[in-house]
């Protein structure tokens, strides 16, 4: 029982990331009809927003203290984080909270990236074949990841969670269980965060007139266009929102997995699988499938399971995708006939 609960918990944070990326992917597909292979790169860009902010915050100033000398007799160089020098404890606090603070940076940045991408590239591909959409966004994904590589290097850059939530919690105790389930705090934070973002996106789509127009557009683009609503501009915003959601998912994921430049590609393939399993164009399907697959993946990583089916943890998600596509091609909650040709 404990073991099962632990695996479910282990799957939640990864599932949250899958769900957030897949949500944007399917939102863009549903509204704009575009298959965006650069969506994983947006997740990666978000993660590097956190890295960039952290590097900016930990900028050090070097002062030479003439009164003190090193063992070699040269004047001592004093390195001090700029923020601590300027703001004292508050500065240290900022550095500690660099990852959550990066959300504030990521929102405007990712919105900008998304809008530029849609206006500058994607909108020219609405009417072109899906194969060309895939190819051009694939090219863009390569470009984005290579830019990040040339700026930040090829190695993963670990990011710390704030001290407050850095440790682990004994979840077993919360539920009054005998055995203890040790679970990192940050993963709980990530899960709650992803649920929050998903909630915001759904609330936006369901309870604002703006969102309702977008949803109507997902159902029938032409009719909404006839109503005299400028659907184009709304779709630009939708693309921006999808970019922000992917970016935020990336920002918050950095303490769990140190980001490197090909993080986006790794997650992209998985998120496409999630979208397919959930059903192309179905938002709730994407969320459901994201969490399901995350949990499934953590179950497949159990040593007991691997003993029976070696290597299953490596392929489980793809295997599920293949089975779903063959048995139920519209996915868990998708409509039939979307993009079959």
């Amino acid at each position: 029982m404990d073991a099962i609960l632990l695996q479910v918990l282990n799957g939640l944070d990864k599932g949250g990331a899958y769900a957030l990326i897949a949500l944007g992917l399917t939102l863009v597909f549903g509204t704009l009809g575009v298959v965006n292979f650069a969506h994983g790169a947006l997740f990666m860009l978000g993660a590097f927003c956190a890295v960039a902010l952290n590097e900016a915050l930990t900028w050090e100033i070097v002062t030479v203290d003439p009164t003190r000398t090193t063992a070699w007799g040269t004047p001592l160089e004093v390195r001090q984080p700029y923020l601590e020098a300027q703001f004292g404890d508050f500065g240290a606090f900022l550095v500690d909270f660099s990852v959550p603070l990066a959300i504030l940076v990521a929102i405007p940045f990712m919105l900008l990236v998304g809008v530029i991408m849609e206006r500058g590239l994607v909108r020219f591909f609405y009417k072109r074949p899906h194969a060309e959409q895939i190819l051009v966004t694939f090219g863009l994904a390569i470009v984005l990841q290579e830019i990040i590589k040339s700026v930040f290097g090829a190695n993963p850059i670990p990011q710390g969670a704030p001290d407050m939530v850095a440790g682990s919690a004994d979840i077993g105790a919360w539920f009054g269980m005998a055995g203890s389930i040790i679970y990192p705090w940050w993963r709980i934070v990530y899960f709650l965060f992803s649920v929050l973002i998903i909630g915001i996106v759904f609330a936006f789509l369901n309870f604002t007139t703006y969102g309702m127009v977008v949803r109507a557009g997902m159902q029938d683009r032409e009719t909404v266009g006839f109503l005299g609503i400028n659907i184009q501009r709304r779709f630009t915003i939708v693309f921006g929102i999808a970019a922000v959601v992917a970016g935020l998912a990336g920002v918050m994921y950095t303490p769990i997995l140190p980001p490197d430049y090909h993080l986006g590609m790794d997650f992209l393939v998985l998120s496409f699988v999630v979208v397919v399993v959930g059903g192309m164009g179905s938002l709730s399907g994407a969320v459901l499938a994201g969490f399901l697959l995350g949990i499934l993946q953590s179950f497949a990583s159990m040593t007991e399971v691997k003993a029976i089916l070696p290597g299953i943890d490596q392929i489980i998600i793809y295997l599920v995708a293949v089975i779903v596509l063959l048995v139920r091609p519209r996915g868990l909650m998708g409509r039939t006939g979307i993009m079959e040709t």
Binding site: R128, A131, E132, F138, G139, I142, E146, Q314, M339, E340
Partner: protein
């Protein structure tokens, strides 16, 4: 052959102006044109060591890559160019071909022919299996299915299949490999043996000429497929699959055939990689490698005969040139500029070369898809039309049943 001529009907219209034997005679028949194309291709490939000299690309290692990736792209084009089915998993067949070839070297003999044979067979069977499942879906679902299979192969090659693939280190030759056939014939070697074709060492130029010969044969086969009823039917599937069904064709075996053929081409390319350098690693199967062959094909021109080889050569050439450049070489290349401008130029170009070669690749990719979806061949055609002006119309009417090249 069943005769189904229409003349038994009573609708002989008096305005008929064509002789019953068929089309009017033409000065150059398409078949003759094809032979010229083929001979030109063969001559171009075989003389690459000469005419690539001034471009600094005439050394065996690189020439081998041109030929090998040319084969890979030509095969990919048979699937993507003719049927329009975009596979994102073809690198898996390349990788499987490599592994099979290296195992042939380890277990049987260092002769390359059995290795090639094994590579093609294993890749073909693998393609049959994956194609059979993936082709149950079309469009993006097909792309995702192939991608999923390729990722599974890649992940498994790194983990549980380590006994077969040797995991991260890659599969390589060892001095104590059994090589039963070689041993049976009393062939012993000191240290690591070399791959050979009945005694001819397959490194350096002999290796290149072997790859080139295979490439020319594979090009000929591809040409025959393009000019066959089968090829026409594949292009009809791409054009309107629905009509194909109502026209009485069972489209799935056609598609599966194209998938397996292109998988076998990838297997040959993979085996040749092992022939020229007997080492196989899982990174060959990664989906970025699949993306690369897509790029080669569309850069040259998907659906054209010569395009994929052109694309493969250009990409491998620039990869070689660009990735070898560094800042110092750039500085000397721009030394004709005044110092501030030189520095500026180096700063601008630097991210695109050396380690940043993939950035250039990505940019090329986007530029081609945005501005020239028909690839370079389409570009040349446009330029040609520009020069020929109105006279292009006449040439078009000579195209006969053949696809325009």
């Amino acid at each position: 052959m069943r005769k189904i001529a229409i003349s038994d009907g009573d609708i002989q219209v008096s305005t008929r102006q064509l002789p019953p034997e068929g089309p009017e005679p033409k000065p150059i028949t398409p078949a003759a044109k094809d032979w010229m194309l083929f001979l030109g291709f063969a001559a171009t490939v075989l003389t690459m060591p000469i005419w690539l000299q001034p471009l600094g690309a005439a050394y065996p290692d690189l020439l081998q890559k041109f030929a090998i990736f040319g084969i890979f792209a030509i095969g990919f084009n048979i699937l993507f160019g003719l049927t329009g089915y975009l596979s994102f998993g073809h690198a898996a067949f390349l990788g499987v071909g490599s592994y099979a070839a290296v195992w042939s070297f380890k277990l049987f003999t260092m002769n390359v022919l059995p290795a090639m044979l094994l590579g093609v067979l294993v890749a073909g069977l693998f393609a049959l299996l994956i194609g059979f499942i993936s082709l149950r879906r079309a469009g993006i679902y097909f792309s995702i299915l192939t991608l999923a299979f390729a990722q599974m192969s890649y992940n498994l090659a790194y983990s549980v299949l380590t006994p077969i693939t040797n995991g991260e280190t890659g599969l390589q030759l060892r001095g104590n490999d059994p090589r039963y056939i070689d041993r049976a014939f009393g062939v012993e070697s000191v240290g690591l043996p070399q791959t050979n074709l009945f005694g001819i060492d397959m490194s350096g130029y002999p290796g290149f000429y072997f790859c080139a010969a295979v490439l020319i044969v594979m090009f000929l086969i591809a040409m025959r497929i393009f000019r066959s009823p089968y090829g026409l039917k594949l292009r009809a599937i791409k054009s309107n699959q629905n009509r194909m069904a109502y026209t009485g064709f069972n489209t799935r075996p056609y598609l599966l055939g194209a998938f397996v053929i292109s998988g076998m081409y990838a297997g040959i390319a993979g085996a040749l990689l092992a022939v020229t350098d007997p080492l196989a690693g899982a990174e060959r199967m990664q989906w970025t490698a699949s993306g690369e062959v897509v790029l080669m094909t569309i850069l040259g021109g998907a659906g054209t005969l010569i395009g994929p080889f052109l694309g493969a050569t250009i990409i491998k050439y620039f990869e070689n040139i660009f990735s070898a450049l560094n800042e110092a070489e750039l500085a000397s290349a721009f030394s004709f500029l005044p110092p501030p401008l030189q520095e500026f130029a180096v700063t601008i170009v630097n991210p695109f070369v050396g380690e940043g070669w993939h950035l250039t690749l990505g940019v090329i990719f986007m530029v081609i898809v945005i501005f020239l979806p028909g690839g370079l061949v389409e570009g040349f055609r446009r330029i040609g039309r520009l020069f020929r002006g109105r006279s292009g119309k006449r040439t078009a009417s000579q195209a006969e049943v053949q696809p325009a090249e």
